[in-house]
């Protein structure tokens, strides 16, 4: 037998070959990750003459602290509840409690997140970092809509283009095209589509309704901004997941479909008993990848709305960047990324647990 060359006999060779990739990962993923954890425990600023100090979990508490404030309505001298012109109870301004009020240390410096009435009283949920809370809710909303819709849509497209028809390749390319274009470019283009005055979407809707549709400033309106970004994000990446589904579909043996056909299965039964079970592993992959991508929503926000209007499109990653670089509060930004990491990690683990092989 031929003697192994020195190259294949030594472990060092393997490490040498791996080192470029390994080094880059170390430099751009592992080290920043460790740094983020380290920074998040200090009061480090992006540029500052002062040395950073260890502050423990202060960044986290500043970010995550919420408090409940129960407020009694204002009463006049005779003990009657004062009402405003709409007939609602009048309440004292919350500032009275949050600004240097020694009786209410738990809501010190907090702002009202949302409130509801409870009998005659008003219950206010207070947050010390209101923008982060909004970003958190927006991100979760985004994930909750985008993940299932994008996954399902991608599956439908994959099923459609998995037919042995002539010219089906063309559709495959068309659906995949948005994935190839940079998200920044796509976002810019969609800004024109969503434009409030003469955007494409408004014109189309206007034409379709014979002029009855009132133009909407899709990105400038609190109620439509996040939804518009969701729609565009779903459109942009659906082709990517379609390809993943497609590869899953093509691992299913055609003979199984023939067997199902012979046994008399309807198209729906074929999907239920042959296709869907055959896509199990693909489904786990798609769900986890979509969720992680959705959580990292940033470019669309940066290009299209910068988090506005009125923080209605703030997201965690956008806030982390904004905080870290815009406001130069690198420790606060780091803390946010760590929170996001833990969030995504726990959701992914949960998804894996829920979709595990039950045998």
């Amino acid at each position: 037998m031929k003697k192994n060359s020195i190259l294949t006999r030594h472990n060092t060779t393997g490490w040498l070959f791996a080192s470029p990739g390994f080094g880059l990962m170390l430099l751009f993923i592992v080290i920043p990750f460790i740094l983020a954890i380290a920074f998040s425990l200090t009061n480090q600023r992006l540029m500052s003459p002062n040395a950073a100090e260890f502050v423990g979990l202060e960044n986290y508490t500043n970010m995550l602290d919420v408090g409940i404030l129960v407020v009694d309505p204002e009463i006049d001298a005779s003990g009657n509840i004062l009402v405003d012109k709409n007939g609602d109870n009048k309440y004292p301004r919350l500032r009275k409690f949050t600004r240097n009020n020694p009786d209410y240390p738990n809501v010190q410096g907090m702002k009202e997140w949302f409130s509801f009435s409870w009998g005659e009283q008003k219950v206010a949920i207070m947050a010390s970092d209101l923008v982060f809370m909004k970003a958190l809710v927006n991100t979760l909303t985004f994930v909750a809509f985008v993940a299932p819709i994008q996954g399902a849509l991608a599956l439908i497209l994959a099923l459609l283009i998995n037919q042995p028809l002539r010219g089906i390749q063309i559709f495959r390319s068309i659906y995949f095209m948005p994935v190839v274009v940079s998200i920044v470019v796509v976002s810019l283009l969609w800004r024109f589509i969503y434009d409030g005055q003469n955007g494409l979407l408004n014109s189309v809707l206007n034409t379709l309704t014979f002029g009855h549709f009132k133009a909407v400033d899709w990105l400038g309106n609190q109620d439509t901004a996040l939804g518009s970004i969701m729609a565009m994000s779903i459109w942009q990446a659906v082709g990517f997941h379609m390809i993943i589904w497609l590869s899953g579909l093509q691992t299913i043996s055609p003979t199984l479909y023939e067997a199902a056909k012979i046994e008399g299965a309807s198209p729906w039964q074929t999907f239920r008993y042959v296709t869907w079970p055959g896509l199990r592993n693909t489904a786990v992959l798609v769900v986890i990848v979509i969720t992680m991508q959705a959580f990292s929503l940033f470019a669309q926000i940066d290009v299209m709305t910068s988090g506005g209007p009125l923080d209605s499109t703030q997201t965690i990653v956008y806030q982390a960047v904004e905080r870290g670089y815009g406001k130069q509060d690198i420790s606060g930004g780091s803390a946010m990324s760590v929170v996001l990491f833990l969030l995504v990690l726990s959701i992914s683990l949960l998804q894996r647990y829920l979709t595990r092989e039950k045998n």
Partner: protein, 353 residues
């Protein structure tokens, strides 16, 4: 259970003709085997019967009804595939009952019919397993179970044993044969293996390049092959063909000879020949009788390989003109390599092509 007729069935892929007008009559309860070399169109023909491929021309009748345009499920057929095609994520029970599940058979009836099928195939103990926990033979049993549970009129098998190892193949072959007797069902079975064809069939259909070569019982085909292809295809080792010249002929006999065969008088076959024609003699290896030395027999050659199997000796013989023949003797006999030998044969057992 039903009759089945194929009338000038054709299949074209684009301009390529794959099945070129096939006529076959299959009677109720018959076990018919389509046999032929790989690529001759056996599977295509079977899949057309199943309804998995469109029929380009001709008429397919099952139980007196033309079914050309019916969906597979409306043809009353069940099919067993070479690759088993059982659903990997379902238990054996679910697999066997699949056809009943999708057609909405009530649960009690389903349980009962699945159990019956399992009992026929002796696999009750496997019902709760998954396909990944089964051997190849057991998987094929499940596939057969899925077929019989629906009580189809016609069973279709596409090389069901080709993925199994030799020993298992023989067991399953016998099992399928027993199953046919038990169910008394019409079965169509595709194989490239002539042993399977000979042992299983009531009727064999030999196909080549999309055309029927001969239809008949195994012994008809073996003893009276219609052409050289059928003769060469059935029997193992396959038939020897030796070219000879016609020296003389009359009403009862033909006299032939060649460089390697001494003049020999054969009984007349129903074939027109003229003196000087070159014809081919077909002699099965079992009917060639080798002798030491050049003298005894009428064919002469030299041993190039001798395989001794104990109960059988197979000789590879190079004739004087360089062509090869094979002789198979049903006893253990010693022949040396390179030994000059002569071969006798029974003139009654010679085929002329």
């Amino acid at each position: 259970m039903a009759d089945l007729q194929l009338k000038s069935i054709e299949k074209n892929y684009g301009s390529t003709r794959i099945i070129k007008g096939v006529d076959i009559d299959i009677k109720d309860g018959e076990f018919v085997v389509f046999v032929g070399p790989s690529g001759c169109g056996k599977s295509t023909l079977l899949r057309m019967i199943a309804g998995l491929e469109d029929i380009s021309g001709g008429e397919l009748t099952i139980d007196g009804k033309v079914v050309n345009d019916l969906q597979p499920k409306d043809r009353g057929i069940a099919m067993v595939f070479q690759s088993y095609a059982i659903f990997p994520h379902m238990t054996v029970r679910e697999n066997v009952g699949f056809g009943l599940t999708v057609s909405g058979v009530p649960k009690d009836e389903k349980v009962q019919r699945v159990n019956e099928a399992a009992q026929i195939l002796q696999m009750e103990h496997l019902l709760d397993r998954r396909p990944s926990q089964l051997s190849g033979g057991q998987r094929q049993r499940v596939a057969i179970g899925r077929a019989i549970v629906r009580n189809p009129k016609v069973f279709l098998f596409d090389e069901p044993l080709s993925n199994l190892d030799a020993a298992l193949r023989m067991d399953m072959r016998m099992e399928i044969s027993k199953l046919h007797k038990k169910l008394d069902a019409t079965m169509i079975y595709v194989t490239h293996d002539q042993v399977e064809a000979m042992t299983l069939a009531d009727k064999i259909v030999v196909l080549k390049d999309g055309e029927v070569q001969q239809i008949g019982s195994p012994m008809e085909l073996f003893h009276k092959p219609a052409n050289r292809f059928v003769a060469g295809f059935l029997g193992s080792p396959s038939m020897n063909f030796v070219k000879v010249k016609v020296v003389a002929h009359d009403n009862d006999s033909i006299t032939v000879s060649s460089d390697v065969i001494d003049e020999v008088v054969l009984p007349r076959h129903d074939r027109d020949v003229a003196v000087g024609d070159t014809i081919e003699l077909g002699i099965r290896p079992q009917y060639l009788e080798p002798h030491h030395g050049e003298l005894k027999g009428s064919m002469h050659g030299r041993v190039s390989l001798s395989e001794r199997l104990g109960t059988e000796t197979v000789l590879d013989i190079t004739l004087a003109d360089g062509n090869k023949v094979i002789a198979s003797i049903s006893e253990d006999k010693v022949f040396e390599v390179d030994e000059e030998i002569s071969l006798c044969f029974d003139i009654e057992k010679v085929h002329i092509f």
